[in-house]
Assembly symmetry: C2
Homo-oligomer: 221 residues x 2
């Protein structure tokens, strides 16, 4: 038992993890094993440890519930409407992150009975206010797309410009002029020609590029 002179809310972190697959923007969800919202889908997350920094808590929950490590979390927003959790007052600090699509080792563990990627426009009803959290994260993602190099976090180590363009087109939902896109993205000097090429089908092979640096460089002039 823990006692306090004044009432204290519980504090959690939740993580909106995005990826791109099957021509869709997807988000990682877990199926809850316990009440409340037992068997509902929800964002990975959980209670903050008393000696744990907020971001560390989010990383730990993500690792424990999905086995995913090494992502670059950004704080999104804190949600604390009274009543958002039926058990007690819970304030959550939401983070988001972007990971490449390739071969994600997802395992269900701890509180999560099941883990899966869902297309954002094709996802089940979520527990708590998690739909609002996902919506805000998506909005943030779209607005950062143009003034930062955030989209590179979706890419594997080596990728073609066509693949990168595809990511932009999926997120913003619309076609992009290939020549202008290449000029713009190469002008940022965030990509390095790896020298290699990749044949992807019955057509000319594409050059493979690498990120010069993993930092999300803001370009908001």
């Amino acid at each position: 038992m823990y006692q306090y002179q004044h009432p204290h809310p519980a504090v959690t972190t939740d993580i909106v993890l995005f990826t791109i697959g099957q021509q869709q923007l997807k988000c990682l969800l877990i199926r809850r094993k316990h009440e409340p919202y037992k068997d509902s889908w929800a964002l990975p997350g959980g209670f903050v440890g008393m000696d744990e920094d907020l971001e560390a808590s989010a990383l730990r929950e993500l690792r424990e519930e999905t086995g995913i490590t090494g992502v670059n979390l950004e704080q999104l927003h804190s949600f604390g409407r009274p009543g958002r959790d039926p058990r007690e007052r819970v304030i959550t600090i939401a983070y988001y992150a972007l990971v490449p699509d390739t071969g994600l080792p997802i395992r269900a563990a701890s509180d999560a009975g099941e883990v899966a990627w869902f297309g954002l426009d094709d996802s089940p009803p979520l527990a708590f206010d998690h739909e609002a959290i996902v919506a805000m994260a998506r909005q943030r993602l779209v607005s950062r797309l143009h003034c930062s190099t955030i989209a590179l976090q979706f890419m594997p180590e080596k990728f073609t410009l066509g693949e990168l363009q595809g990511v932009y087109e999926i997120i913003q939902g619309g076609a992009v002029d290939r020549r202008n896109f290449r000029k713009r993205v190469l002008a940022r000097h965030c990509l390095k020609d790896s020298g290699e090429t990749r044949r992807n089908g019955k057509h000319r092979p594409a050059r493979l590029y690498t990120c010069v640096s993993m930092d999300t460089v803001e370009v908001n002039k």
Copy 2:
């Protein structure tokens, strides 16, 4: 006494309230009446009520400690490093807001022994990690200045374009071309010519403008 099965952190809100005065960007601080950091300057803020939304808590603290009401709060970031408060684990959700300079009715109340505006480059050492919070709020303010109409929140109901330009120059710390500034700001169609003018000195009177809408319109294309 309040008892929980698991330990709970305390949760507070803190508010970075900016204004412009004496050709400076200023921030509202209170002098603490109690330990810890007794007699130090700190941001207004305090513990979140158990049935109170986060923004409502920030508004209440601001009202109780400074008498200021009716500001437009934006959530800044949550800070939760273990040890940032010597008493116990405290996670704070920081907000920021901008208010006009004119005739602010500031009164000290409740936990605040004293309330005052401080120029940002001329402020005393702050309690807790409040200097980091102010620094982040300032950064946010600068970066929003160009892609939003946030600066209008510094203005009184009626103001001249020269006054608005002065606000921009103070925040970003540099001169702005008057003609280009006027074209840009008028092109946003957020200002309405009130028809009135104001004589401010021994020179031609200036037109007074009003905000068309109080919303902070983002213009990030």
